[in-house]
């Protein structure tokens, strides 16, 4: 259960969002600049909303009225940033293990590594990886935190075609394997369709629609060969 009720102000830009979703995977969909990433950062605890309430799976993360504002480190979320943010001075293995809980087993580690096909990369540094590889490591790192929910910010952005296909496949596999509550931010319909169960459309800082993935697919235009800009005649 994802409960988002928040108001954000950043300079001239303002966003107000209120929704409840019992979907396993929720997508926040909208054009660039509509506030999707800021929403994600607010859920992660890196941005403070003006007021509101954020709860995921009955974990209360933020409640301005009750004075609750958990630090990012305590929110127990796995965040995959659009710019990956791998630690450049650590190896892939060290990056992956960074957020792992103390009681995590070697099996868990190996499982994720296998799923994302990272075994050959473990000893390398982020500087030696390709775009797609970096993205996969970032996903693995977030997963290995064993969070109760996963936040993905434009997971396929800035990847060339092969990498997009590769990462998308892995994400689908993860969805099948882990069934983790996921909030996904994107401006590309194909990502959304492939990964989300429910879609929240955001435009100009407002929620304009909350629909399930099928309905979304119908109402959005997906040109053959991959998507570019968002949205479509509703």
């Amino acid at each position: 259960m994802i409960e988002l009720d928040l108001a954000l102000q950043r300079g001239e830009f303002s966003l107000e969002l209120a929704l409840q979703s019992s979907a396993r995977a929720l997508a926040l969909f909208g054009p660039s600049g509509c506030g999707k990433t800021s929403t994600l950062l607010a859920i992660a605890g890196l941005l403070r909303p003006e007021h509101g309430r954020i709860a995921i799976n009955n974990h209360l993360l933020f409640d301005s009225r009750a004075g609750v504002d958990l630090a990012a480190a305590r929110r127990d979320l796995g965040v995959v940033f659009q710019d990956a943010r791998l630690f450049p001075h650590l190896t892939v293995r060290e990056n992956l293990r960074y957020g792992m809980p103390r009681d995590a087993t070697a099996q868990t580690f190996d499982g994720v590594v296998q799923l994302l096909q990272l075994s050959a990369l473990l000893k390398r540094r982020p500087g030696q990886l390709s775009g797609g590889q970096i993205r996969r490591v970032a996903i693995g790192r977030a997963l290995l935190r064993q969070p109760h929910a996963l936040l993905l910010d434009e997971p396929l952005a800035n990847l060339h075609r092969e990498a997009r296909v590769e990462v998308l496949e892995h994400l689908r596999g993860l969805k099948r394997e882990f069934a983790l509550t996921t909030i996904l931010v994107s401006h590309q319909p194909d990502e959304v369709i492939a990964l989300a169960d429910q879609v929240a459309r955001i435009e100009d800082g407002r929620l304009v629609a909350l629909e399930d993935a099928h309905a979304f697919e119908v109402s959005s235009f997906v040109p053959p060969g991959g998507a570019h800009a968002a949205g479509a005649p509703g």
Partner: protein
């Protein structure tokens, strides 16, 4: 062949000891201050910054005098040190404190720049992975600012090594305890006929300063920290 007289060698060794200990011991405090300046906003921050720069702006003799009345015998802090048998008055530890205080602003400024050059987004990512502020500092901020840190240490060491006014005012000149190289140099140029020794010590001091500058330049020129990959 001895390049330096025994007294000069003693002064040189003492300077190394005093400067190293001074700078290394002030590193934790300087790091804390630098981190606060780089990452936090708080009431009175400009005043705090100004206070940290004081040893740079005050005449060294004034700083030495303040150290004397605070850490000397009967001083506000000195009396407790004396009672505990840890007196630093007229001892090399006092010289180390004088050197550390004079080099402190330089160290803080260098460390602050080094910390600020670390991408905050990486620190934020570490936070989302469950790391608290201390872990973030030691596992992300510090390793990525290491070059700037070493450069700052080299510069602070050079400053500490050359420290004169505050040292001689606070702990006087005591061969083997507080007569550091700059003080020995001063004594030589103050003595008729001491020019030869003064020149030798000057050459030593210049060499140390050049080495420190070289280290700093190497650290800073090789591109500082590596930014986060995409």
């Amino acid at each position: 062949m001895n390049l330096l007289t025994h007294a000069e060698t003693v002064a040189l060794a003492l300077s190394f000891k005093v400067s190293l200990v001074g700078v290394v011991c002030s590193l934790p405090v300087a790091s804390g201050c630098a981190w606060l300046l780089a990452r936090k906003h708080f009431f009175g921050k400009p005043l705090f910054e100004g206070l940290l720069l004081l040893p740079l702006i005050l005449p060294p003799v004034v700083t030495g005098y303040v150290l004397l009345i605070v850490f000397g015998h009967h001083g506000a802090i000195g009396r407790w040190l004396d009672a505990a048998g840890l007196s630093i008055a007229f001892r090399w530890t006092g010289a180390a404190l004088a050197a550390a205080v004079m080099a402190f602003p330089l160290l803080v400024v260098a460390l602050r720049n080094a910390f600020e050059s670390v991408d905050r987004r990486l620190e934020n990512a570490a936070a989302t992975l469950g790391a608290g502020p201390w872990r973030i500092f030691f596992s992300v901020t510090l390793p990525l600012s290491l070059r700037g840190l070493v450069a700052g240490l080299a510069l602070a060491f050079a400053r500490a090594f050359g420290e004169f006014g505050a040292t001689i005012t606070f702990v006087s000149s005591i061969p083997g305890q507080t007569r550091t190289l700059p003080i020995a140099l001063y004594e030589l140029i103050s003595t008729p006929g001491g020019e030869g020794g003064a020149l030798r010590l000057t050459l030593v001091a210049v060499t140390v300063a050049l080495l420190a500058g070289l280290i700093a330049a190497l650290m800073l020129l090789r591109g500082g920290t590596r930014e986060a990959e995409a």
